[in-house]
């Protein structure tokens, strides 16, 4: 079965008891037990819920893993996975990472004696140089944020194997449509399901999948003990979004390629960061002062955080996704006000291009 078909034929498309064509929402906290020595398959919703289980099975299947996990947010998925490490452990992380990841690592996990080094993971030598005797894990983003640099999962998996490290891959910006890290040697794949998987800007969720049964047990233990689980209603909405994942991504990717090409030819744009894959385009305006009038003037994309939805979204990383960084850190990474991150939606490309044009022209006139 092709990927696009598997999105719809997950094994959960029909409810066994009633034939319902959607997974029932088990809006429940507890489950009656048949008897003391005959426990039911579910006992308490934090530990397991049939609606969440359906989503977890689906993400495991789509990512080619043995088990999936659903959490209350992408950061909950990440912070739970990172609890697999111990005090004294060192991690190497993609330096161009999401601001929330940076904050979690440097201002929450640091308290627990887990140290971090950041490296350009698109360069395996840079990663090797960052390794220390106590390095236990590699955390990468398949497409970094906001400069959209591609990291080769296989190359990272090789380093991980050589040094006995766990490889964690945040695959949010590509989705399983465009990349399946477990098949390339990753140990854990993580998504902010808020983004492409959910696809409609209407829920906050995180998911993870693993390919090793022992690791699955470890991660399940954390998911249950810490309890940052996704509620059943949200699980239903993520599953609903997944049904159109391929359709949406195809349109978004095609439009993004057109927009990137078009932006490269504009004098109002100093630089375009587009990796040739995915549906995000980051670009730098010719002058920093253009940013405000530019975003003000755009009609179609929503100005705000998040990405991956059916509606186009425009963000200024310095103020949005990377606001959590200290100003010096932002400057060091080149994340200034002139940097615009565009999450391409499924609107008609002609409309988006026309909107971009009028906004760029207007912004250039203001400075």
């Amino acid at each position: 079965m092709e990927f696009g078909t598997r999105l719809l034929h997950t094994g959960h498309e029909v409810d066994r008891a009633t034939g319902a064509a959607a997974v029932p929402i088990y809006q429940v906290s507890t489950f009656g037990q048949p008897g003391l020595s005959t426990p039911g398959p579910y006992d308490y919703a934090r530990s397991g819920n049939p609606t969440r289980r359906a989503l977890e099975d689906i993400i495991a299947d789509l990512e080619g893993g043995v088990r999936g996990f659903a959490f209350s947010s992408g950061l909950a998925a990440l912070s739970s996975a990172l609890m697999l490490f111990s005090a004294g452990d060192h991690l190497v992380v993609t330096d161009d990472c999401y601001g929330g990841t940076y904050r979690l690592l440097t201002r929450v996990l640091s308290r627990f004696g887990i140290t971090v080094s950041f490296a350009d993971t698109s360069d395996p030598d840079a990663v090797r140089r960052a390794l220390q005797p106590n390095t236990r894990g590699l955390l990468i983003e398949t497409i970094s944020n906001p400069f959209l640099k591609r990291t080769d999962v296989r190359a990272m998996a090789e380093i991980a194997r050589e040094h006995g490290l766990r490889l964690l891959v945040d695959n949010t910006l590509l989705s399983p449509c465009l990349c399946r890290p477990l098949g390339e040697g990753a140990d854990i794949v993580i998504h902010s399901a808020t983004k492409y998987l959910g696809g409609h800007s209407d829920l906050i969720a995180g998911v993870a999948a693993v390919r090793d049964p022992a690791l699955a047990d470890e991660l399940y233990f954390i998911q249950n003990a810490v309890g940052a689980v996704l509620g059943p209603h949200e699980c239903f909405l993520v599953m609903r979004g997944i049904k159109t994942l391929k359709l949406r991504m195809e349109k978004q990717v095609a439009t993004a390629a057109r927009i990137a090409e078009w932006l490269r030819g504009r004098r109002e744009v100093a630089e375009v960061y587009y990796p040739g894959v995915g549906a995000m385009v980051t670009f730098r305006l010719a002058r920093e002062a253009m940013a405000e009038p530019f975003v003000q003037r755009l009609q179609l994309p929503l100005l705000g955080v998040s990405l991956g939805a059916v509606e186009s979204l425009v963000a200024v990383p310095a103020r949005h996704s990377h606001a959590a960084l200290q100003p010096e850190e932002r400057r060091r990474r080149g994340i200034t006000d002139d940097l615009i991150r565009f999450s391409v939606g499924i609107e008609e490309p002609a409309d988006l291009l026309a909107d971009l044009e009028q906004a760029l022209v207007y912004a250039a006139e203001q400075v």
């Binding site: 507890t30 003391l36 020595s37 209350s72 829920l203 906050i204 405000e292």
Partner: protein, 366 residues
């Protein structure tokens, strides 16, 4: 305004657009910014969501605090609080506590901690040491139903510059308001009495110091464990009947405790005279599987605090993660059953317990 009134008005007057009495479910991940550098006050639902805000404000008001945070589960709430501490910090913890909290302390976090009977102030005092940062208690313990003297513990904490953290799940603000007694942090599994309908998993933290609230909020946001809008709305809905439900839970529990005390097959009843929770030991371990199998109205299910009466066997359920020797020492034996008394008619509940304990009419066990 009395608490019962305030609870009824949870989430009310929260729709600026149409005046809808029930707060809308803001099923949205993101919020449009009016302009660069401006915000409506909401940017991203992990960080803040209007439906969750409505719940958090209702919770803060209910516990008499200045700030509340809603989480995806009670364990997520406790995890957030534990993340305030580092490996050099020591915690004093009630020994008779929920197995899930025990599991976090033993198997997830590496925080130094000492268990103690927190109803014994001298014993608590004796285990405080230079690195101690907090005392963690349950306002009514699980499952032995012991009540600690929170005001006295709060005094002790003040003396030593410690935080007093109280899991108030079993009593609820209707029966106990730890912040008013001097506690610093109150935690709830809102899954239980607050939501009250066995239909949502959620947690809450309430504080009375704005600075502490900010620190906890930072972790909630950074580690992403906030409660979703649909579930927030369901907890709000549950809060409205909390006062009524607690009254009925208590009435029923008191009657059932009295009836159990007189029953020949019941050895001991642990009921502190308050709340809807009680535990009892049966005279023979074989009665346990029998009762759990025979109850018809009462549900053999995990959890507690809902409108339906639930019965559990702590030794293998809520306290399975504790080593057997610890369980034995705490009296969590193979004859201890815990009842979360619901709001059914008490006569029906007693009749169900009678037939479950006594087997077929005329005695005899299966």
């Amino acid at each position: 305004m009395k608490l019962a009134t305030a609870l009824v008005h949870a989430g009310v007057r929260r729709d600026p657009a149409y005046g809808a009495v029930s707060v809308p479910v803001y099923q949205s991940a993101t919020f449009q910014h009016p302009a660069l550098g401006m915000s409506t006050g909401y940017d991203y639902s992990r960080t803040g969501n209007p439906t969750r805000t409505a719940l958090e404000e209702a919770l803060a008001r209910a516990e008499g605090g200045v700030r509340a945070l809603a989480f995806s589960s009670g364990m997520a709430a406790i995890t957030c609080v534990l993340r305030l501490f580092g490996p050099a910090d020591h915690l004093v913890v009630t020994e008779d506590l929920y197995g899930g909290t025990y599991r976090l302390l033993e198997q997830v976090f590496s925080l130094p901690h000492t268990y103690v009977d927190t109803t014994d102030l001298a014993a608590v005092r004796a285990v405080i040491r230079p690195g101690t940062r907090a005392i963690l208690v349950e306002s009514l313990t699980n499952p032995r139903m012991k009540r600690a003297d929170l005001a006295a513990l709060a005094d002790l904490c003040r003396e030593h510059g410690l935080l007093l953290i109280v899991d108030n799940t079993f009593l609820t603000p209707c029966l106990c308001r730890p912040l008013e007694l001097g506690a610093d942090i109150v935690i709830h599994s809102a899954t239980k009495y607050l939501a009250g309908h066995n239909d949502v998993v959620a947690g809450a933290v309430v504080v009375r110091d704005a600075g502490l609230g900010e620190r906890l909020y930072f972790v909630q946001n950074a580690a992403g464990m906030a409660l979703g809008p649909q579930d927030s709305w369901l907890v709000i809905r549950g809060l409205k009947t909390l006062a009524l439900r607690m009254e009925r839970h208590q009435q029923n529990a008191a009657r059932i405790a009295g009836w159990l005390r007189q029953h020949p097959l019941v050895e001991d009843v642990l009921y502190p005279g308050v709340s809807g929770m009680l535990s009892f030991t049966v005279t023979d371990p074989d009665l346990v599987p029998q009762v759990l199998r025979r109850v018809k109205l009462i549900l053999f299910a995990e959890s507690l605090g809902g409108v339906e009466t639930l019965i559990t066997f702590p030794a293998v359920q809520t306290h399975a993660d504790m080593p057997a020797e610890v369980r034995e020492r705490l009296g969590i034996t193979d004859r201890l059953l815990r009842l979360s008394v619901g709001i059914e008619d008490a006569d029906d509940l007693i009749a169900d317990l009678a037939q479950a304990l006594e087997g077929e009419a005329g005695g005899g066990r299966e």
